[in-house]
C-alpha cells in the first residue's frame, strides 16, 4: 500500500565561524589605467557563485557594470586572505570586505575628482557608469580613465570582522551574527511493501536578507535540498571499527535526478543591517530543515517516528513490522 504524508521543519542557523573564532575577510580594490577596477580577493569559488557575487557587489558599490570589474581571486601571490569558503560566510563576510574596499577606493577617487573639477568638496559628486560628475551640474564631469591616467596609485583595502563571542561555561552567549532562517515542507509517499520513500512535492522558504543573485540562491536551494534528501533517506558511510564500509557510489547512495521533485522556492528579503546590501549566508541553511521535514512527513504517512537516519527501505519495513 502507498501512504502519503506531509511534514514541515523550521530552522535558524548562525553563519560564520562563530564561538569567538577570529572571522576576518580582506579585499583590495585598485583603479586600473583603462578606468576599470580590479578586485583582489581570496574567496574560493567552488560552484556556489562567490566570483559572481563579489563582482556584483563591487559593481554596485562603484556604480559600474559587471564587465568593468576585473576579479583576481584564488591567487595566493596576489590576493589577501578572505578565510575559507565554509560556514556560509563568503557573501556576508567577504562581500562586506569587498564593499568596504570599494567604498574606500571611491572616497579616494572622489577626492581626486573634486580637485580636478575644481569643487570645494566631494559631497556634491556622483559616481556612475565610469564618470564622476557634479550632481547639480552633470556636464561638469571627469571619467575614471582620466583620473587613472593622472594618479596611478589609487588603491584601497577593505577589512571586515564578523561579530562573534565565545560562549560561557554554561553554553550561553552570542556566538554568531547574523542568523539565517529557513523552512521546508514536503509531501512524501511511503510504499509499505517495499519500504521506499519518495518525495512528491517540496516547498522551501528561505530568509536570505537580500538575494544578490536570485538564480544562484535558487541553485543553492536545489542543491541543498538534494543533499538533505540523501542525508534523510540514503547516505550512510557505514562506519565499522573505524572503517567506511560504503566507500563507493555503489554502496554510498546519493540522490539522482529521479529522486528529486521540483521545488517551489520562496525568497524572503528582509535586509540584514550589517550585511553587504542586506545579503546573508544561505549555503548550509538550505539543507538543514530538509531531513526533519521528510521524517515528519514519514511520521504523518505511517505513524512511525524515526530517530536514526538514513531512513532506508530496510528500516521502514522493520519499523512497520514491529509496529504490527
Amino acid at each position: 500500500m502507498k501512504k502519503r504524508g506531509k511534514g514541515i521543519a523550521c530552522i535558524f542557523y548562525g553563519t560564520g565561524y562563530g564561538n569567538g573564532f577570529p572571522d576576518v575577510s580582506r579585499a583590495y580594490a585598485r583603479l586600473l589605467e583603462d578606468g576599470r577596477v580590479e578586485i583582489s580577493v581570496g574567496a574560493t569559488e567552488v560552484g556556489q557563485g562567490a566570483k559572481t557575487v563579489m563582482v556584483q557587489i563591487a559593481a554596485e558599490t562603484l556604480g559600474l557594470l559587471d564587465k568593468d570589474i576585473v576579479l583576481i581571486n584564488e591567487d595566493t601571490s596576489k590576493t589577501p586572505d578572505a578565510g575559507t569558503a565554509a560556514a556560509s560566510r563568503q557573501t556576508y563576510n567577504t562581500g562586506n570586505a569587498v564593499k568596504i574596499a570599494c567604498e574606500n577606493l571611491k572616497e579616494k577617487i572622489l577626492e581626486d575628482a573634486a580637485k580636478l573639477l575644481g569643487v570645494n568638496t566631494k559631497v556634491g559628486l556622483c559616481m556612475k557608469d565610469g564618470l564622476i560628475y557634479v550632481k547639480s551640474y552633470p556636464s561638469k564631469k571627469v571619467s575614471l580613465k582620466e583620473i587613472a591616467e593622472l594618479n596611478k596609485d589609487l588603491q584601497a583595502e577593505g577589512v571586515f570582522t564578523a561579530h562573534t563571542t565565545q560562549m560561557d561555561e554554561n553554553g550561553q552567549g552570542a556566538p554568531y551574527w547574523p542568523y539565517t532562517f529557513a523552512s521546508c515542507a514536503v509531501e512524501v509517499e511511503v510504499d509499505t511493501e517495499t519500504g521506499e520513500v519518495s518525495i512528491l512535492r517540496a516547498k522551501h522558504v528561505l530568509d536570505v536578507g537580500r538575494a544578490v543573485n536570485p538564480s544562484l540562491v535558487e541553485g543553492q536551494i536545489d542543491g541543498g535540498f538534494a543533499m538533505g534528501v540523501g542525508y534523510a533517506l540514503m547516505e550512510d558511510i557505514g562506519l565499522k571499527d573505524g572503517k567506511m564500509t560504503n566507500g563507493s557510489f555503489e554502496k554510498y547512495i546519493i540522490p539522482t535526478a529521479l529522486d528529486i521533485p521540483e521545488i517551489e522556492k520562496v525568497l524572503i528579503e528582509y535586509p540584514e543591517d550589517t550585511a553587504p546590501y542586506g545579503a546573508k549566508g544561505i549555503g548550509e541553511p538550505v539543507m538543514i530543515p530538509v531531513a526533519p521535514a521528510i521524517l515528519n512527513a514519514i511520521y504523518d504517512a505511517i505513524g512511525v517516528r524515526f530517530y536514526e537516519i538514513p531512513v532506508t527501505p530496510e528500516r521502514v519495513l522493520l519499523a512497520l513490522q514491529s509496529k504490527g
Partner: protein
C-alpha cells in the same frame, strides 16, 4: 605490452592508433589525446562524469577499453559546438555549479535529444539519472534540457 591497432573517429576526426590492450577509453581520451574535458569521477561506472557518446549511445568511458572503440564514432564534450543549444541552455538556466558533472550531463542530454525532441520531464530525469551531481540538485539541469528541447523544436525556449 601487447599493442592493438584501432581506427576511431573522435569528434569528426579520424585517428589510427596503437593502444595497449588494457588501456581504458578515458585514458586514451585524456592522457594520449589530451581531450581533458571528459572527467574521471569514481572510475567504476557509478557517477557518469566520464560519459561520452560512442556509436550513438552514452557510455562510461572508464568502463570501456580503448580497443573496444575500434571502428566507432565518439563524441566527447570537445565535439560540442561553441554555440550549441544544449550548452547555451545550461549556461542560461544556471545549470552549472562546480562543473565536474557538466560534460557528462551535456552529453547525456544530447544523446536523449538526438532521439527524442519532445521528452517528458520524467524522460529527461531518466536520461540523466546515470550522471550524479552533488551541487545543483538536478532541477536547473532538467530545466536546461527542457529549454534546449524546445529551442531545437523551433520554439523560443520559454
Amino acid at each position: 605490452m601487447i599493442l592493438k591497432k584501432i581506427e576511431v573517429n573522435i569528434n569528426g576526426r579520424d585517428y589510427c592508433l596503437d593502444v595497449e590492450e588494457n588501456l581504458r577509453l578515458i585514458d586514451l581520451l585524456r592522457d594520449k589525446l589530451k581531450l581533458t574535458g571528459t572527467k574521471e569521477g569514481c572510475g567504476e561506472g557509478e557517477c557518469g562524469a566520464c560519459t561520452v557518446i560512442m556509436g550513438g549511445k552514452i557510455v562510461n568511458s572508464c568502463l570501456v577499453l580503448a580497443f573496444q572503440a575500434d571502428k566507432s564514432r565518439i563524441i566527447t564534450i570537445e565535439g560540442i559546438e561553441e554555440d550549441d543549444v544544449i550548452k547555451n541552455s545550461f549556461i542560461e538556466e544556471g545549470a552549472v555549479q562546480c562543473g565536474f558533472c557538466t560534460p557528462g550531463m551535456v552529453l547525456a542530454a544530447k544523446s536523449l535529444l538526438d532521439k527524442n525532441l519532445n521528452p517528458t520531464e520524467e524522460e529527461i530525469r531518466e536520461a540523466i539519472s546515470g550522471n550524479l551531481c552533488r551541487c545543483t540538485g538536478y532541477n536547473k539541469i532538467v530545466s536546461a534540457v527542457k529549454k534546449a528541447a524546445k529551442l531545437k523544436r523551433g520554439g523560443d525556449g520559454e
